[in-house]
Symmetry: C2
Subunit: 355 residues, 2 copies
């Protein structure tokens, strides 16, 4: 390792001190504005001039200073992104979708996370980002159910992926209602007398939508609505719910508000020798990559997070480029119900306790 930095640091490519537009202009024998035109791909430069400037840029390793460019032009080539707990599957896949779509449009993404999805935190994060020189802002899953008023910088185009802010901001969200309905109906069609629900946190708007739709679907079918169990999205909370499922032989079908809780639940049932799907059918939500490889493979509602990310970018850049402010509108990305092996036709459970 000590042999590494041996040769003097004259790197092969760009020169050591950062070249400015004036340096390039001097070397090429033109005015700075001409360099600017070449750097920005303007048509109105003679081919030989362009070539001379290009050669000078290459020789000096010129890279335009984006701060200066942004200061003058008012456009930054960057989209701000506020996220919460971004290592979670849905979040990270959405971020990936945003970053890929942004790159395709020539934008980078400025990322800030919040420790809690409260409107204060989100507002502070947005403000920090707007200081960072961004053209538009995407907020991923503020998730709060209180329709918070975000005190965002004026004139900053904003798009959110949280349905709780619908009507107030432009939004992109999954069609949770259709997905939930398909999941619950699937279990009813298999003959289960009713469907139990392991819910997400009560302050999460997607969790609330899923719970309400589960309840409405049962009611529409004239089935009893059991009290839902309260989870918090984590594998651990699904695991803990397993004890209650195992203990109650009336429970033969469980709709979980996400795949992680379904995975935790299934593991708990395995440990207690309750057969899935022989005795209890389990359905998840999200279709995380591992869902297909759980044991048994999980029946779930697929969300297309990548497309949500791409739609968010499309919407925010539409607003960045559009002259006038557009009315808040809403794009709903379809979900897809995926039947695998964690659900089976109803059979009554043997009420005897096991060990």
């Amino acid at each position: 390792m000590s042999t590494a930095g041996h040769t003097p640091s004259t790197s092969p490519g760009p020169s050591a001190s950062r070249a400015s537009i004036a340096d390039v202009a001097r070397l090429a024998g033109v005015a700075p504005i001409t360099v600017s035109r070449v750097a920005n791909g303007s048509d109105s430069v003679r081919p030989d001039t362009r070539q001379r400037v290009q050669a000078a840029m290459d020789k000096l390793g010129y890279a335009p200073n984006n701060a200066a460019r942004a200061l003058r032009s008012g456009s930054f080539g960057a989209i701000g992104l506020v996220a919460h707990r971004l290592a979670r599957t849905g979040e990270s896949r959405t971020v990936e979708g945003v970053v890929e779509a942004a790159r395709a449009q020539g934008y980078t993404v400025s990322l800030v996370d919040v420790t809690a999805p409260t409107s204060d935190e989100v507002t502070a994060a947005a403000r920090r980002l707007s200081h960072q020189a961004i053209d538009g802002l995407i907020i991923i899953r503020a998730e709060t159910t209180t329709p918070a008023i975000l005190a965002l910088p004026p004139r900053l185009p904003v798009v959110v992926s949280d349905s709780s802010l619908l009507g107030r901001h432009a939004a992109v969200s999954s069609d949770q209602v259709a997905g939930t309905r398909a999941a619950v109906q699937h279990l009813l069609d298999l003959g289960h007398p009713t469907v139990h629900h392991l819910a997400g946190p009560a302050d999460s708007s997607p969790a609330v939508v899923r719970q309400e739709t589960w309840r409405d679907t049962l009611r529409a079918a004239g089935r009893p609505v059991p009290a839902p169990w309260q989870g918090d999205w984590t594998l651990q909370s699904g695991y803990e719910a397993g004890a209650r499922v195992a203990a109650d032989p009336e429970v033969t079908a469980v709709f979980c508000a996400n795949d992680e809780m379904a995975a935790g639940l299934m593991r708990s049932l395995h440990e207690q020798d309750v057969a899935v799907p022989g005795e209890v059918s389990v359905v998840g939500f999200d279709d995380i990559p591992v869902a297909e490889y759980l044991w048994p493979p999980l029946t779930t509602v697929h969300q297309d997070f990548g497309r949500i990310g791409a739609e968010l970018v499309t919407m925010v850049l539409d607003r960045v480029r559009g002259e006038r402010e557009q009315p808040p509108h809403h794009v709903e990305v379809p979900t897809r119900f995926v039947v695998r092996a964690s659900t089976a036709p109803y059979t009554p459970r043997t009420p005897a306790p096991r060990h």
Copy 2:
């Protein structure tokens, strides 16, 4: 929804047109420089002046223009981050660690992804980011085994989390060697005659390190070294390897280069009625959140991605703040071997094919 935008858009907080430092100075009756000092928290402002300026800033909803600030001061308050396939567990957890640590230091993160971790792609991404006005650059897992020369902008502090660039750039990485050794030794200690290996892609440097260490550990113990199987990190490739494991009764212990492949492998073995760990012990690498909730719970090597992210930020900001260029150094984050239920003492497998 049509009732939403009813009240005229005089938002309660900031005024409609963006206020500059001159506007604030005029309102507060001070010079622009004084506003600058207040905005930057300088000590040398009298409390009453500060208060007057603060009031004016609040009234006008003033937010400093970061482009102008950056242009003048040469500091941008942003760290560039190049990532590949960032929705994967290790990547997204590392990104989260980076973003959290950066926020704690008052920095935002400018994120760009590459479609392939080649040196050309990474170089192009770094160049795009350097145009974006960043103070330093973090490259997550370039992953290539060819010690590529990245043509990075001069004077830009760079830290990578790829051990293949060690000695060339400052780096943070997991202690893969210790983790792998612990995993293989654990299986040998359980009495298995040898340990098979489901490897990661050959062009990935962590995959190569894990494979080499697996081989060295077997050799050091005087055990035969079976030909490794080739995977590609995906659940699917683990699942496919399952057919070979099931078909060969000599295989009683498999060290997988990551948890996803281990999960795919275990599902395949379940389907073929090969008992885990009764007949085949399985070990993974990474300790993804679901690992503990797989069936059976997966024995694996825990990597602390969050800490890797934090160390990356510490190192790059050290270089941003330091006057002189420091010699490339290397931080190795410890791994931790976690024994769960997918491994068991050796028993010979029944060679007969089943049902």
